[in-house]
Protein backbone atom coordinates (compact mmCIF):
# COMPACT_ATOMS: atom_id res chain seq x y z
CA UNK A 1 0.00 0.00 0.00
CA UNK A 2 1.26 3.44 -0.80
CA UNK A 3 2.32 5.36 2.28
CA UNK A 4 3.23 8.86 3.09
CA UNK A 5 6.24 9.83 5.10
CA UNK A 6 4.37 9.67 8.39
CA UNK A 7 3.52 6.02 7.82
CA UNK A 8 -0.22 6.48 7.61
CA UNK A 9 -2.28 4.97 4.88
CA UNK A 10 -2.89 7.15 1.88
CA UNK A 11 -6.48 6.06 1.36
CA UNK A 12 -9.27 6.98 3.70
CA UNK A 13 -10.33 4.16 6.05
CA UNK A 14 -13.77 3.63 4.57
CA UNK A 15 -12.16 2.83 1.23
CA UNK A 16 -10.29 -0.02 2.91
CA UNK A 17 -13.41 -1.50 4.46
CA UNK A 18 -15.69 -0.94 1.47
CA UNK A 19 -17.63 1.73 3.33
CA UNK A 20 -18.39 -0.38 6.39
CA UNK A 21 -17.71 0.67 9.96
CA UNK A 22 -18.91 -2.44 11.76
CA UNK A 23 -17.50 -5.96 11.65
CA UNK A 24 -19.76 -8.86 10.65
CA UNK A 25 -19.13 -10.42 14.02
CA UNK A 26 -18.53 -8.71 17.31
CA UNK A 27 -16.04 -11.09 18.89
CA UNK A 28 -12.97 -8.92 18.76
CA UNK A 29 -11.58 -7.43 21.90
CA UNK A 30 -8.43 -5.31 21.60
CA UNK A 31 -6.43 -8.25 22.92
CA UNK A 32 -8.17 -11.13 21.14
CA UNK A 33 -5.41 -13.27 19.65
CA UNK A 34 -5.61 -13.93 15.93
CA UNK A 35 -3.72 -16.47 13.84
CA UNK A 36 -3.77 -17.55 10.19
CA UNK A 37 -5.39 -20.94 9.62
CA UNK A 38 -3.38 -22.01 6.60
CA UNK A 39 0.12 -22.39 8.00
CA UNK A 40 1.54 -23.64 11.26
CA UNK A 41 2.96 -20.91 13.50
CA UNK A 42 6.47 -19.78 12.87
CA UNK A 43 8.74 -21.28 15.51
CA UNK A 44 11.85 -19.44 16.58
CA UNK A 45 14.57 -20.15 14.07
CA UNK A 46 12.15 -21.94 11.77
CA UNK A 47 10.70 -20.88 8.49
CA UNK A 48 7.12 -20.45 7.47
CA UNK A 49 6.07 -22.96 4.86
CA UNK A 50 4.75 -21.02 1.92
CA UNK A 51 1.93 -23.28 0.85
CA UNK A 52 -0.23 -21.53 -1.68
CA UNK A 53 -3.20 -20.19 0.26
CA UNK A 54 -6.45 -19.04 -1.21
CA UNK A 55 -5.35 -15.46 -1.10
CA UNK A 56 -6.30 -14.48 -4.60
CA UNK A 57 -8.99 -11.87 -4.65
CA UNK A 58 -8.10 -10.44 -1.25
CA UNK A 59 -7.71 -6.69 -1.02
CA UNK A 60 -4.15 -5.45 -0.43
CA UNK A 61 -4.93 -4.73 3.23
CA UNK A 62 -6.44 -8.18 3.82
CA UNK A 63 -3.49 -9.77 2.11
CA UNK A 64 -1.13 -7.88 4.41
CA UNK A 65 -3.09 -9.04 7.46
CA UNK A 66 -2.99 -12.69 6.33
CA UNK A 67 0.72 -12.43 5.58
CA UNK A 68 1.37 -10.89 9.00
CA UNK A 69 -0.73 -13.49 10.82
CA UNK A 70 0.98 -16.41 9.08
CA UNK A 71 4.01 -15.83 11.28
CA UNK A 72 2.17 -16.56 14.52
CA UNK A 73 -0.43 -15.20 16.91
CA UNK A 74 -0.90 -11.47 17.45
CA UNK A 75 -3.57 -9.46 19.22
CA UNK A 76 -6.04 -7.32 17.31
CA UNK A 77 -4.38 -4.13 18.50
CA UNK A 78 -0.91 -5.37 17.51
CA UNK A 79 -2.14 -6.14 14.01
CA UNK A 80 -3.58 -2.62 13.82
CA UNK A 81 -0.30 -1.16 15.07
CA UNK A 82 1.91 -3.12 12.70
CA UNK A 83 -0.22 -2.26 9.67
CA UNK A 84 -0.90 1.36 10.66
CA UNK A 85 -4.64 0.83 10.49
CA UNK A 86 -7.21 2.17 12.97
CA UNK A 87 -8.51 -0.55 15.31
CA UNK A 88 -12.08 -0.13 14.07
CA UNK A 89 -11.04 -0.73 10.46
CA UNK A 90 -8.84 -3.65 11.51
CA UNK A 91 -11.77 -5.33 13.26
CA UNK A 92 -13.90 -5.12 10.12
CA UNK A 93 -11.16 -6.70 8.02
CA UNK A 94 -10.36 -9.38 10.61
CA UNK A 95 -14.00 -10.28 10.86
CA UNK A 96 -14.21 -10.79 7.10
CA UNK A 97 -11.07 -12.93 7.18
CA UNK A 98 -12.45 -15.14 9.96
CA UNK A 99 -15.67 -15.50 7.94
CA UNK A 100 -13.68 -16.51 4.87
CA UNK A 101 -11.65 -19.03 6.85
CA UNK A 102 -8.28 -17.30 6.51
CA UNK A 103 -7.97 -16.47 10.20
CA UNK A 104 -9.02 -17.96 13.51
CA UNK A 105 -9.19 -16.44 16.99
CA UNK A 106 -8.07 -17.82 20.30
CA UNK A 107 -7.59 -16.68 23.83
CA UNK A 108 -10.27 -14.01 23.84
CA UNK A 109 -9.94 -12.01 27.01
CA UNK A 110 -12.51 -12.75 29.66
CA UNK A 111 -15.26 -10.18 29.54
CA UNK A 112 -16.73 -10.98 32.91
CA UNK A 113 -16.85 -8.06 35.31
CA UNK A 114 -15.03 -9.96 38.03
CA UNK A 115 -12.08 -11.92 36.70
CA UNK A 116 -11.44 -15.28 38.28
CA UNK A 117 -9.23 -15.36 41.32
CA UNK A 118 -7.18 -18.07 39.64
CA UNK A 119 -6.46 -15.84 36.64
CA UNK A 120 -5.49 -12.91 38.87
CA UNK A 121 -3.21 -15.18 40.86
CA UNK A 122 -1.53 -16.27 37.63
CA UNK A 123 -1.02 -12.62 36.64
CA UNK A 124 0.42 -11.86 40.08
CA UNK A 125 2.78 -14.85 39.98
CA UNK A 126 3.92 -13.89 36.50
CA UNK A 127 4.68 -10.32 37.57
CA UNK A 128 6.52 -11.42 40.71
CA UNK A 129 8.68 -13.75 38.63
CA UNK A 130 9.89 -10.73 36.68
CA UNK A 131 11.34 -8.97 39.70
Amino acid sequence: MTRRGNGRALVRPHVVTGGRAHPTRNVFDLVTLVIATGDPPLHPGGTTPRTPLRTTGLSPEKLRIVELCRGGALSVVEIAGHLNLPVGVTKVLLSDLVDSGHLATRGAAPTVRQPEVRLLQEVLDGLRARL
Binding site: A21, L74, H82
Partner: protein, 198 residues
Protein backbone atom coordinates in the same frame (compact mmCIF):
# COMPACT_ATOMS: atom_id res chain seq x y z
CA UNK B 1 8.37 -3.24 2.35
CA UNK B 2 5.85 -5.79 3.59
CA UNK B 3 8.46 -8.53 3.55
CA UNK B 4 10.38 -6.61 6.19
CA UNK B 5 7.36 -6.71 8.45
CA UNK B 6 7.64 -10.26 9.70
CA UNK B 7 11.26 -9.96 10.76
CA UNK B 8 10.29 -6.91 12.77
CA UNK B 9 7.43 -8.67 14.51
CA UNK B 10 7.58 -10.48 17.80
CA UNK B 11 4.74 -12.98 17.86
CA UNK B 12 2.85 -14.28 20.86
CA UNK B 13 4.17 -17.64 22.04
CA UNK B 14 2.25 -20.51 20.45
CA UNK B 15 1.30 -21.97 23.83
CA UNK B 16 -0.47 -18.81 25.00
CA UNK B 17 -4.21 -19.27 25.43
CA UNK B 18 -5.26 -16.22 27.42
CA UNK B 19 -4.65 -12.53 26.91
CA UNK B 20 -5.56 -9.98 29.58
CA UNK B 21 -5.17 -6.23 29.77
CA UNK B 22 -4.50 -3.56 32.34
CA UNK B 23 -4.92 0.15 31.62
CA UNK B 24 -2.23 2.67 32.47
CA UNK B 25 -4.10 5.94 32.81
CA UNK B 26 -3.18 9.48 33.67
CA UNK B 27 -3.21 13.02 32.40
CA UNK B 28 -1.14 14.32 29.52
CA UNK B 29 2.63 13.85 29.94
CA UNK B 30 2.40 12.03 33.27
CA UNK B 31 4.59 9.22 31.96
CA UNK B 32 2.17 6.62 30.54
CA UNK B 33 4.16 6.04 27.37
CA UNK B 34 7.40 5.75 29.32
CA UNK B 35 5.81 3.32 31.76
CA UNK B 36 4.45 1.04 29.03
CA UNK B 37 7.79 1.19 27.23
CA UNK B 38 9.72 0.27 30.36
CA UNK B 39 7.71 -2.90 30.95
CA UNK B 40 6.92 -4.04 27.42
CA UNK B 41 8.87 -6.95 25.94
CA UNK B 42 7.96 -5.86 22.44
CA UNK B 43 8.79 -2.54 20.90
CA UNK B 44 5.83 -0.51 22.13
CA UNK B 45 3.35 0.08 19.38
CA UNK B 46 1.02 2.92 18.73
CA UNK B 47 -2.21 2.93 16.83
CA UNK B 48 -4.19 5.96 15.89
CA UNK B 49 -7.94 5.93 16.16
CA UNK B 50 -10.18 7.96 13.94
CA UNK B 51 -12.59 10.06 15.95
CA UNK B 52 -15.14 12.66 15.05
CA UNK B 53 -14.46 16.06 16.51
CA UNK B 54 -17.41 15.50 18.82
CA UNK B 55 -15.49 12.65 20.36
CA UNK B 56 -17.33 9.51 19.38
CA UNK B 57 -15.42 7.08 17.23
CA UNK B 58 -16.77 7.18 13.74
CA UNK B 59 -19.95 5.13 13.58
CA UNK B 60 -20.66 5.41 9.92
CA UNK B 61 -17.50 5.61 7.91
CA UNK B 62 -19.47 6.15 4.73
CA UNK B 63 -21.01 9.29 6.12
CA UNK B 64 -18.02 11.06 7.57
CA UNK B 65 -17.14 13.29 4.69
CA UNK B 66 -18.89 16.30 6.18
CA UNK B 67 -17.61 15.80 9.70
CA UNK B 68 -14.29 16.97 11.04
CA UNK B 69 -12.25 14.02 12.17
CA UNK B 70 -9.29 13.82 14.46
CA UNK B 71 -7.10 11.02 15.72
CA UNK B 72 -6.10 9.88 19.17
CA UNK B 73 -2.98 7.84 19.76
CA UNK B 74 -3.08 4.65 21.78
CA UNK B 75 0.18 3.21 23.12
CA UNK B 76 0.43 -0.38 24.19
CA UNK B 77 2.92 -3.05 25.11
CA UNK B 78 3.00 -6.74 25.99
CA UNK B 79 4.38 -8.92 28.80
CA UNK B 80 4.44 -12.72 28.62
CA UNK B 81 3.56 -13.86 32.15
CA UNK B 82 3.57 -17.63 31.64
CA UNK B 83 3.49 -20.20 28.86
CA UNK B 84 -0.24 -19.74 28.84
CA UNK B 85 -0.78 -16.05 29.55
CA UNK B 86 0.10 -12.64 28.14
CA UNK B 87 -0.66 -9.25 29.63
CA UNK B 88 -1.18 -6.17 27.49
CA UNK B 89 -0.67 -2.71 28.94
CA UNK B 90 -2.51 0.20 27.38
CA UNK B 91 -1.60 3.82 27.90
CA UNK B 92 -5.14 5.20 27.92
CA UNK B 93 -6.00 8.77 26.95
CA UNK B 94 -7.19 10.88 29.84
CA UNK B 95 -10.12 12.36 27.98
CA UNK B 96 -13.63 11.26 28.71
CA UNK B 97 -14.78 12.34 25.24
CA UNK B 98 -13.19 9.35 23.58
CA UNK B 99 -16.17 7.26 24.59
CA UNK B 100 -15.98 4.42 22.10
CA UNK B 101 -12.26 4.02 22.63
CA UNK B 102 -12.84 3.87 26.38
CA UNK B 103 -15.56 1.26 25.82
CA UNK B 104 -13.01 -0.85 23.97
CA UNK B 105 -10.33 -0.29 26.59
CA UNK B 106 -12.48 -0.92 29.64
CA UNK B 107 -14.24 -4.04 28.36
CA UNK B 108 -12.59 -7.01 30.02
CA UNK B 109 -9.79 -4.94 31.57
CA UNK B 110 -8.59 -6.35 34.88
CA UNK B 111 -8.11 -2.89 36.30
CA UNK B 112 -6.27 0.40 35.96
CA UNK B 113 -3.08 1.87 37.32
CA UNK B 114 -3.53 5.64 37.69
CA UNK B 115 -0.23 7.49 37.28
CA UNK B 116 -0.12 10.85 39.04
CA UNK B 117 2.39 13.69 39.30
CA UNK B 118 2.39 15.43 42.68
CA UNK B 119 3.16 18.76 41.01
CA UNK B 120 -0.07 18.48 39.04
CA UNK B 121 -2.43 16.47 41.23
CA UNK B 122 -5.45 18.45 40.10
CA UNK B 123 -4.96 17.28 36.55
CA UNK B 124 -5.62 13.73 37.71
CA UNK B 125 -9.16 14.41 38.88
CA UNK B 126 -10.75 14.01 35.43
CA UNK B 127 -8.93 10.74 34.82
CA UNK B 128 -10.01 9.33 38.17
CA UNK B 129 -13.59 10.30 37.37
CA UNK B 130 -13.47 8.24 34.17
CA UNK B 131 -11.98 5.21 35.90
CA UNK B 132 -14.49 5.33 38.74
CA UNK B 133 -17.45 5.88 36.41
CA UNK B 134 -16.35 2.84 34.43
CA UNK B 135 -16.29 0.83 37.63
CA UNK B 136 -12.68 -0.17 37.04
CA UNK B 137 -10.79 -1.21 40.16
CA UNK B 138 -7.57 0.79 40.41
CA UNK B 139 -4.41 1.58 42.29
CA UNK B 140 -2.60 4.93 42.25
CA UNK B 141 1.10 5.24 41.52
CA UNK B 142 2.91 8.54 42.05
CA UNK B 143 5.36 8.73 39.16
CA UNK B 144 8.30 10.38 40.82
CA UNK B 145 9.64 13.27 38.77
CA UNK B 146 12.81 15.09 39.68
CA UNK B 147 11.71 18.29 41.30
CA UNK B 148 8.16 17.20 42.03
CA UNK B 149 7.10 18.01 45.58
CA UNK B 150 7.11 15.06 47.94
CA UNK B 151 3.86 14.99 49.90
CA UNK B 152 3.03 12.61 52.71
CA UNK B 153 0.77 9.79 51.50
CA UNK B 154 -2.05 11.10 53.68
CA UNK B 155 -2.06 14.40 51.80
CA UNK B 156 -2.06 12.70 48.41
CA UNK B 157 -4.88 10.41 49.57
CA UNK B 158 -6.89 13.37 50.76
CA UNK B 159 -6.28 15.38 47.59
CA UNK B 160 -7.35 12.48 45.38
CA UNK B 161 -10.11 11.38 47.77
CA UNK B 162 -8.88 7.79 47.80
CA UNK B 163 -10.67 5.04 49.64
CA UNK B 164 -8.57 3.72 52.54
CA UNK B 165 -8.23 0.37 50.75
CA UNK B 166 -6.98 1.85 47.46
CA UNK B 167 -3.26 1.18 47.12
CA UNK B 168 -1.03 4.25 46.81
CA UNK B 169 2.56 3.60 45.75
CA UNK B 170 5.49 5.55 44.36
CA UNK B 171 7.25 4.46 41.21
CA UNK B 172 9.73 5.61 38.62
CA UNK B 173 8.23 4.96 35.20
CA UNK B 174 11.74 4.64 33.75
CA UNK B 175 12.66 1.84 36.13
CA UNK B 176 11.57 -1.71 35.37
CA UNK B 177 11.61 -3.00 38.91
CA UNK B 178 9.69 -0.16 40.50
CA UNK B 179 7.18 -0.14 37.63
CA UNK B 180 6.64 -3.88 38.03
CA UNK B 181 6.13 -3.41 41.78
CA UNK B 182 3.42 -0.82 41.09
CA UNK B 183 1.59 -3.33 38.89
CA UNK B 184 1.94 -5.98 41.58
CA UNK B 185 0.28 -3.62 44.08
CA UNK B 186 -2.63 -3.24 41.69
CA UNK B 187 -3.06 -6.97 41.06
CA UNK B 188 -2.73 -7.71 44.77
CA UNK B 189 -5.57 -5.26 45.32
CA UNK B 190 -7.66 -6.90 42.58
CA UNK B 191 -7.18 -10.26 44.29
CA UNK B 192 -8.38 -8.80 47.57
CA UNK B 193 -11.48 -7.46 45.83
CA UNK B 194 -12.02 -10.77 44.04
CA UNK B 195 -11.67 -12.63 47.31
CA UNK B 196 -14.35 -10.44 48.86
CA UNK B 197 -16.93 -11.04 46.19
CA UNK B 198 -16.14 -14.69 45.47
Amino acid sequence: MDSALASDTSYVRASVRTAVKILIVGHFAVGKTTYVGTLSEIRPLRTEELMTQAGATVDDLAGIRDKTTTTVALDFGRLTLSDDLVLYLFGAPGQQRFTRLWDDLARGALGALVLVDTARLKESFAVMDIVEKRGLPYAVAVNHFDGSPVFPDAEVREALDLAPTTPLVTCDARDRRSSTEALISLVDHLLTLGGETA
